[in-house]
């Protein structure tokens, strides 16, 4: 699947997007996989563990917010485009 990183997450991963081929899994499992790959600085923004900001982060699956789907239990397909944003705002 295609993973797109924005804002701080792009700075941490040093890529704007990458392709990851993994067996069918949930969004939660993908987040855990990425946290293991990119470490604590990444986990701080996308996970709720250790006081992280994950509950305020924005995860889109093909442009739809995961909270309008099955949340972290949303099942992912290899053809999906996943966009990951840390908590952001503006106006």
């Amino acid at each position: 699947m295609q993973i797109k990183y924005f804002a701080t997450l792009r700075d941490i991963t040093r890529v704007s997007e990458e392709h990851i081929s993994v067996p069918e899994q949930t969004l939660e499992e993908l987040i855990q996989f990425l946290c293991a790959r990119y470490g604590r600085s990444f986990a701080k923004w996308v996970s709720c563990e250790d006081g992280g900001f994950g509950s305020l982060s924005i995860f889109l699956i093909n442009g739809t917010d995961y909270r309008s789907l099955d949340g972290l239990q949303t099942r992912l397909k290899d053809s999906d485009v996943i966009s990951l944003f840390p908590p952001i705002a503006g106006g």
């Binding site: 804002a7 701080t8 917010d65 908590p87 705002a89 503006g90 106006g91």
Partner: protein
């Protein structure tokens, strides 16, 4: 008085009379300050039917009771008048330090009346106030004007001025303070130009009295902690600025593109906040007492577009970017610099050019109308040329200077103007995000995002997440945001404090500073009161409930591609409930009971 200085400065440019009047405490309690109190005074004093560019209009510079205090991010003020772009009340909000400086000089508001016979500027040095000749600076751009006036008065003076666009009464001319901060929307700069007022220059040295210093210090520390610990207020905005929104709006398929024909722009990343930070940002900048610092000091090094200044904000990058079909970030940043230097509202400027591109590509405007210019989507250099031509009302720019509604109407196709109540909609597609569409349609100043920023829950999930495509619950959500923002604007606070604090903390700050007890309900009711006051003026001046609408394109042309493909606005489903919840009748008129409840009857 505490928080409020208790003095209003009134200057009549026709007669030259300068007066100092007591602030009406009862009105101050009910309407707070800034947007609210200035709107109350303006609506009491002018006939809603006046020509906005006549001497009968008044121009009010309005900080709030929290302006100039040590509460966090209290650098905002409003410029209030009848707006030339819409015929509605304008309350254009700007940051920097100009608003607090008015308070330090000892004034709650500065009311400018009448019109001078020749160019003048107003010099406020604490108690000493003078109307001075501005003939030598008339015609200068904003940076040159600012530097000349600092040299003529005080090197630390805060300067709010117009550029050539305001002098030429471009209907969306801005008032710029401290060079880069804009009271942008609705044409307040044109009103200033119509009064032959080039600038207001202020130096103040007085303290602001606080009713309960101990309670205030406590409330300040609570607010600071909540804002700095919030990942958005404390980190995100400082690092990336507001333009970080470009990629998220594009990713959910609601980044208006090519005059709102589409909601997705494949190259949006080129002008997003990540690119701005990587290639253009020299340092973040904050307003008075700001702990967020979303401002961007920026520089373009490409010789073709070279320049230095501040910004762009998200709405500006979007407007000159995807709405014009342009992915050249050098040109987008340059367009923002030109708007700031010449004194133009970037949102209406960009969207009016997008409208012209749309009309041209549809064949309704030809080279005969444009003076030979091919005005096509994606042409960055023509876009830049049109910005300068508009500010100077040169050639086809003279038509653009009237805004997109009048431009499109001139060519027989008002439906090409992406505006509500003649003011252009900003950077969030109301087909893909239902609540913001209801807000656009009902906003008291026409197309506008900041007075009811439902994007926060609908897209960003702050402070909670709701489905952007749903209509259920949106009328109450919009009303809550509209009322909260009306009250917040009236304190002098920055809207971005709400990415950390809300009505409870703002009411605590306001109570401690003024000595007037505001509960959360009192605070929200003040917002409701201000909203209804603005509505009443609009109904008398320019609109009926039939104007609570969006362009037909929003309900008849589904978003053609991207994540929000197939979506249209369902405004008609939401509007009746909005009226009912507001306490308005079926025609959108506040009922007598509602007005009595708000002490507006």
């Amino acid at each position: 008085m505490y928080g409020w200085t208790g003095i209003i400065l009134r200057v009549n440019l026709t007669t030259g009379e300068i007066k100092k009047e007591p602030t009406n405490l009862q009105d101050a309690k009910l309407f707070i300050g800034a947007r609210g109190l200035a709107s109350k005074i303006l609506t009491d004093e002018i006939d809603p039917k006046i020509d906005p560019l006549s001497a009968e209009n008044k121009l009010i510079f309005a900080p709030g009771p929290l302006s100039g205090t040590m509460a966090p991010s209290m650098g905002r003020y409003d410029v209030v008048c009848k707006a030339p772009l819409t015929g509605l009340l304008a309350a254009s909000n700007s940051g920097g330090s100009f608003g607090p400086e008015i308070k330090f000089a000892g004034y709650d508001l500065v009311i400018v009346e009448g019109a001078a016979k020749k160019p003048v500027y107003l010099w406020i040095n604490d108690d000493n106030v003078e109307i001075r000749d501005a003939s030598e600076i008339w015609g200068k751009n904003v940076p040159d004007t600012t530097e000349a006036l600092r040299a003529a008065t005080d090197e630390d003076a805060k300067v709010a001025c117009i550029g050539p666009a305001g002098e030429k009464k471009v209907l969306f001319a801005s008032i710029m303070n401290e060079m880069h901060r804009a009271a942008g929307r609705s044409g307040v700069g044109a009103v200033m130009g119509s009064k032959n007022l080039k600038a207001v220059v202020v130096v103040g040295t007085k303290p602001i009295a606080v009713a309960d210093p101990e309670a205030f210090e406590k409330a300040v520390m609570v607010a600071r902690k909540k804002i700095t610990e919030h990942p958005v207020g404390g980190t995100g905005l400082r690092v990336y600025g507001t333009d970080v929104l470009t990629n998220i709006l594009n990713s959910v398929g609601s980044l208006p593109t090519r005059n709102f024909h589409e909601g997705y722009f494949p190259n949006a990343d080129k002008f997003g906040g990540e690119s701005l930070t990587a290639k253009y940002l020299t340092r973040p900048r904050g307003c008075f007492s700001c702990i967020i610092s979303c401002g961007r000091a920026t520089k373009v090094t490409n010789p073709k577009y070279a320049g230095e200044g501040e910004g762009p904000e998200y709405e500006t990058a979007w407007g000159f970017g995807s709405d014009c079909g342009i992915d050249n970030m050098d040109a987008v940043v340059k367009a923002n610099f030109i708007c700031n230097e010449l004194g133009l509202d970037t949102i209406t400027m960009a969207t009016t050019i997008a409208c012209a591109m749309d009309l041209y590509e549809s064949g309704f405007i030809t080279g005969k109308d444009t003076g030979g210019l091919a005005v096509k989507f994606g042409d960055a250099d023509t876009m830049l040329k049109l910005v300068e031509m508009t500010a100077n009302r040169e050639g086809f720019g003279d038509q653009l200077a009237e805004g997109s509604f009048r431009l499109a109407t001139r060519y027989g196709h008002p439906e090409y103007s992406m505006s509500a109540k003649k003011q252009e909609m900003p950077a969030y597609d109301p087909r893909g995000i239902q609540g913001i569409g209801l807000h656009y349609a009902t906003s008291n100043r026409g197309g506008c995002h900041v007075r009811g920023y439902t994007i926060s829950p609908e897209v960003l999930g702050v402070p909670f997440k709701v489905d952007q495509h749903a209509t259920e619950g949106k009328p109450q959500l919009v009303i809550t945001f509209q009322n909260l923002t009306a009250a917040l604007d009236s304190t002098g606070s920055c809207l971005f404090t709400t990415f950390g604090i809300g009505a409870e903390e703002l009411a605590a700050l306001l109570s401690a500073v003024t000595g007037v007890t505001y509960t959360v309900d009192d605070f929200m009711k003040a917002g409701d009161r201000i909203w209804n006051l603005e509505r009443l003026f609009g109904l008398k001046s320019a609109i009926t409930g039939k104007d609570d609408r969006l362009p037909d394109r929003m309900s008849k042309e589904p978003i053609p591609a991207g994540p929000s493909k197939g979506e249209i606005s369902h405004l008609d489903k939401m509007l009746p409930e909005y009226y009912t919840l507001r306490g308005w009748d079926s025609k959108g008129v506040p009922t007598p009971e509602k007005l009595h409840d708000l002490s507006l009857a």
